[in-house]
């Protein structure tokens, strides 16, 4: 469904992403892991069009989308959430999700129908699926961090994506919230049949839900494979544990 070939991006001489490869099949849950600064978020920004790559190709559903603006990539069926909470902070929770839904239905140039009458059901369903129904009328900027992270995913779902990209969905969450988040991701994959690509620091989470794992180190993808293979891969151990301790399996 998604294929990335040798993608590159440098920021003023620093190669943030230097030839990363990645493949995601329909229906999979794929995790990207790697030490801090490995370029995971940059990779996601490159895929979703937030920034333009210097080289390489992004192919989504057999179509090259390299360097397209973010709003056009979104329309092709790919939505994402952000690592740092990135919401419409002055609007209510409901309005936050509704904007994404309106946008997917191409209604944002509609000038004279009141928004409050449009796509209410679809928006409510999404809020329910992430457990924010009773907070719909709260101003999103005033929510707790955990609820804002849930809203992050809800906004991404508003685009009704085939491929959902989650950038560290559990960053900053409490253990209970993390468990809820894992449940949510599993449910989205099982019930809605979403293909999910995510990156994460929490190894437990990664090995609990990912079908396949890609490991990034210093901007390069060093391996993509099944969790069991990645766990005992020599290079991965070097990257995480340092050379001296290699020989044990991760997590």
């Amino acid at each position: 469904m998604l294929r990335i070939e040798g993608i590159q991006k440098s920021f003023g001489g620093f190669m943030a992403v230097n030839g990363a490869n990645l493949g995601v099949q329909k229906g999979e849950i794929v995790a990207v892991i790697g030490p801090n600064g490995a370029g995971k978020t940059t990779l996601f920004n490159l895929i979703t069009g937030i920034i333009k790559p210097d080289g390489g190709r992004v192919i989504f559903k057999e179509e090259e989308i390299t360097g397209l603006p973010a709003y056009r990539i979104c329309k092709k069926g790919m939505s994402r959430s952000f690592q740092v909470v990135n919401i419409f902070s002055r609007l209510t929770v409901f309005e936050n999700v509704q904007i994404a839904v309106l946008s997917r239905h191409g209604k944002t140039f509609n000038l004279f129908t009141p928004s409050r009458k449009l796509l209410i059901e679809e928006t409510s369903d999404i809020l329910q699926s992430v457990g924010l129904t009773d907070k719909g009328r709260s101003v999103s900027g005033s929510l707790s961090h955990g609820d804002q992270k849930a809203l992050e995913i809800a906004i991404a779902l508003g685009g009704h994506p085939e491929l959902l990209i989650l950038d560290e969905p559990t960053a900053g969450l409490s253990p209970e919230e993390t468990i809820r988040c894992i449940d949510l991701i599993k449910r989205l994959s099982a019930d809605l049949g979403l293909t999910i690509l995510f990156c994460e620091h929490d190894m437990e989470l990664v090995f609990a839900i990912a079908n396949r794992i890609m490991v990034m180190v210093r901007g390069k993808s060093i391996i993509q494979g099944l969790p069991a293979d990645v766990r005992c891969n020599r290079e991965v151990q070097d990257a995480y544990l340092g050379e001296s301790e290699s020989g044990v399996c991760l997590a």
Partner: protein
């Protein structure tokens, strides 16, 4: 905050206010009727700015250009080209919208303050043309004595025309703010990156918003002609833009009617304080400072917040 508005329990205030405004000319002197009409005109200009400033988060620093272009467009169509005033009234806003489209298409590539700086420069260019082109625009003399149809020629007639047109514009703007386009615009204000990520073409929406705002500013310019029968270059000088901007901040730039309230305060202040002292701008400055320090969301923003608190108390602190 963005959705704070006349709604729910307070919405009955609007028709009452409108009826009062309909009755006012019958009891007020001509001077006060004129003053009220002037408030509508300035308020409409400020509200059109707030469409892009408060709802769109676009730093349109030189909005008066479109107000002035609307006024000159109408005045020149009537005086120089000899068309009927009604046609002039249409030409003004359309010309303002067109200038806004051209200027917006150039400026919208930049963001935030850079947008504002470029927009001031381009706006000043328009001002310079109007100011210098004596043979056509009358230069710094402006255009005076634009003849009006009999129906709206008197002070009362022009008042009612201004009131009705302003009301119609307010309704249209309210619908726009509440429409999906309005939602997308507020989304862009809060978070352009996220808007882009959910599939909203940010620049295009901003451009459309600018054209709409330019159009309504043009309507305000036309209404000024109706009230004052004249147009002059100061209407597109940057100091007026600043004044319109202050109206938004004073009244509450995150509320729908705030800029109108701000306009009422500014016009009243200028009229009455200037009869006491020629340093009335000093009073204005002090008031503005106090508002920014104590009511950072403007007067109406403050009132709305208080209303909300009361509502919350009434419903047992929930919601």
């Amino acid at each position: 905050m963005a959705t704070l508005n006349i709604r729910g329990k307070e919405s009955w205030l609007v028709p009452i206010l409108f009826i009062l405004l309909l009755v006012f000319p019958l009891v007020l002197t001509r001077f006060y009727t004129y003053l009220l009409a002037l408030i509508f005109v300035s308020g409409l200009a400020a509200m059109s700015l707030n469409l892009v400033l408060g709802y769109g988060g676009i730093y349109q620093f030189h909005h008066a250009v479109f107000y002035g272009v609307g006024a000159y467009g109408a005045a020149l169509t009537i005086t120089k080209l000899g068309y009927s005033p009604w046609i002039g009234f249409l030409v003004g806003p359309l010309l303002a919208a067109f200038i806004s489209l051209v200027m917006g298409a150039i400026c919208v590539r930049l963001s935030k303050l850079y947008f504002g700086m470029l927009q001031i420069s381009l706006g000043s260019l328009v001002w310079a043309i109007v100011y210098r082109w004596y043979s056509f625009t009358g230069g710094d003399d402006g255009i005076h004595g634009v003849s009006m149809p009999d129906l709206i020629g008197s002070t009362t007639g022009s008042y009612y025309f201004t009131l009705l047109v302003t009301a119609a514009c307010l309704i249209a703007m309210y619908l726009i703010v509440k429409s999906p386009f309005g939602s997308a615009l507020q989304g862009i204000r809060d978070n352009p990156v996220r808007s882009e990520a959910v599939g909203v073409n940010v620049k295009l929406h901003q451009l459309v918003a600018l054209v709409i705002a330019g159009f309504f500013a043009g309507v305000a310019g036309v209404l000024f002609i109706v009230v004052d029968n004249s147009a002059f270059p100061d209407m597109l000088f940057w100091t007026l833009s600043l004044e319109i901007l202050i109206m938004c901040l004073l009244g509450g730039w995150l509320t729908f009617l705030g800029p109108m309230l701000g306009a009422a305060m500014m016009v009243a202040l200028r009229t009455f304080a200037s009869t006491f002292t020629e340093y009335w701008t000093l009073i204005q400055g002090i008031i503005l400072m106090l508002v920014i320090i104590f009511l950072p969301e403007g007067v109406l923003g403050y009132v709305n917040a208080k209303f909300k608190q009361l509502g919350n108390l009434a419903s047992g602190g929930k919601a």
